[in-house]
């Protein structure tokens, strides 16, 4: 893969409701910040990829609302419907094709405007599953139970993730939900869908973010510290929950295997300095750490309990506070990439981790992490 760099990033603050801002307002804010971060003018953006979801926006062709605000006027532009990590992957391909020197990728989401369970219920098959009322939380509860039973993972181990990530969020001004919690408090929070409790869940959020990718030639012309894309891969498992072993993370393993191979990483546990992954629920952090190869299958609980994943641990995971501390869907994936880029640059402010040379960002699409996207970023080309 030819070298491509992240040269600019922009995030809005994630909040429960940003009532004053429509989609276009949020996207403009994030795009402006990314341009300023890169020291670029909109005219230096060669093409644009917007990311949105028609269901979440209650709008067919949800990208239409942001065409003014993302600066796509008189540019080639396209729209990915899915997590921001996937949209950014397409933005990367458009540079690798040789057609464009720079791509702006922007993504927006307003969870405050709809009723989330009705939207995520629509992920499920209309004929065989939807009538059950199954949606993101209840399906994830099935996965959590399958995973915990198979490997003897405890609810306390999951609760540790909630305590850690909400605490990390205090250092992140963009986060929505910094909380000082104890394991007991998480354990005492009410069950939403056994074994998932209220404090195991991400919040509903509004927000937008943007990233500017550039070819090596274009990146060198900018006065920025480029963050190089070392590897990117994505992979989907089966759809019907009954067709999957829900405790299995094979699609993530496959995506991670390819991404690491591109990055020349043989042993991720040694080579990776920081991870930002899609922790929509606490158990997911444990499972995804296994799928990403940071511990053996079934060892995620022990890894969480070891303290290694703390912000000052051996392998900081979600030092930003993760999705548990702010989850504008779709945006949340791109925010994982942005957090990794900031860490690699040394620009993560109070949440900066020392000596981050290589970072892994991760996003998901579909029910129970059916489809995974893995990014490896580094400071060296």
């Amino acid at each position: 893969m030819e070298p491509v760099a992240i040269v600019g990033v922009g995030m809005t603050e994630m909040r429960r409701e940003r009532k004053a801002d429509g989609y276009a307002d949020l996207v403009y804010e994030a795009t402006r910040k990314a341009l300023d971060d890169a020291g670029m003018e909109i005219g230096e953006v060669d093409n644009v990829v917007t990311v949105s979801n028609d269901f979440f926006d209650g709008r067919t062709i949800s990208s239409m609302a942001v065409q003014d605000a993302c600066g796509s006027y008189d540019k080639n532009v396209s729209t990915v419907e899915g997590d921001g990590t996937f949209g950014a992957a397409y933005g990367l391909m458009r540079i690798l094709s040789g057609s464009f020197g720079t791509t702006l990728v922007c993504v927006h989401h307003k969870g405050s405007e709809s009723r989330m369970p009705l939207i995520t219920n629509a992920m499920f098959d209309p004929i065989y599953e939807r009538f059950l009322g199954i949606e993101a939380i209840t399906s994830s509860a099935l996965q959590a139970r399958a995973y915990m039973d198979k490997y003897g993972i405890t609810e306390e181990q999951c609760a540790l993730v909630s305590v850690k990530n909400h605490r990390n969020a205090f250092k992140n001004p963009f986060a929505q939900l910094p909380l000082e919690l104890t394991v007991e408090e998480v354990m005492a929070s009410p069950y939403i869908a056994d074994p998932i409790k209220l404090l195991d869940c991400c919040p509903i959020s509004d927000g937008a973010s943007a990233v500017i990718l550039a070819s090596e030639e274009r990146a060198r012309k900018l006065d920025v510290k480029p963050v190089w894309v070392k590897g990117v891969a994505y992979c989907s498992d089966a759809y019907h929950l009954g067709d999957r072993d829900l405790s299995d993370v094979r699609a993530l393993e496959e995506a991670a295997r390819k991404a690491y191979a591109m990055a020349g990483i043989g042993d991720p546990a040694r080579k990776v300095d920081l991870v930002e992954l899609y922790d929509a629920f606490t158990y997911m952090e444990l499972m995804w750490l296994e799928g990403l190869g940071f511990c053996a299958r079934g060892e995620g609980g022990k890894l969480a309990a070891s303290g290694d994943t703390a912000a000052d641990g051996r392998l900081p995971v979600n030092a930003s506070g993760g999705c548990l501390s702010g989850n504008p869907v779709l945006v949340a994936g791109l925010n994982r990439i942005i957090e990794c880029a900031l860490q690699v640059r040394g620009d993560a402010g109070e949440r900066q981790v020392d000596g981050v040379k290589t970072a892994v960002a991760h996003g998901i699409n579909g029910p129970c992490g059916q489809s995974h996207c893995v990014w490896v970023l580094g400071g060296e080309k």
Binding site: R18, K19, A20, D21, G22, A24, D25, Y28, R32, I42, F55, G58, Q67, D68, A69, G71, S72, Y73, D74, K110, S112, E113, S114, R115, L118, I119, A122, P126, I127
Partner: protein
Amino acid sequence: MAMAEEKKLLITLESGEAEQPFRWSAGIYGSRFLTELRDNKRFVGIRCPKCGKVYVPPRRVCGPCFVELSELVPVSDEGEIVTYTVVSFGFVDPATGKQKPVPYGYAVIKLDGADTYLLHYVDETDPAKIRVGARVKAVFEEERTGSMLDIKHFELLER
């Protein structure tokens, strides 16, 4: 199995009356526009500091200039027709779930003082009586709620 027999066996599933309710934000300037309509029966636009274009309804960003807008300016409740049609096919209005009554006149309208256009009804259902360039004036509802439907329609000033 014969084709006709097989067809009889095919099942479709009706989604029923279920719908997904939304609560969209109009944004700061959109809210000002709708408030002016509701409270004062007046139109406001927003001027681009770079190209000078007046957007109605107001939006936050001028796409071509990619700059933020903030200068609200009054625009007239009168204007002219840019293009028009008369809708005569029946369809279900997704906002109400009911059949929209047809026919109705419908036009893209340039208000005096604006550079972009509004889509709205005109009080005429005979296309031969409407023309591009015809002058129109907004007619407001008595009861107004802060929506585009606070404008009942645009009245043709010449027939």
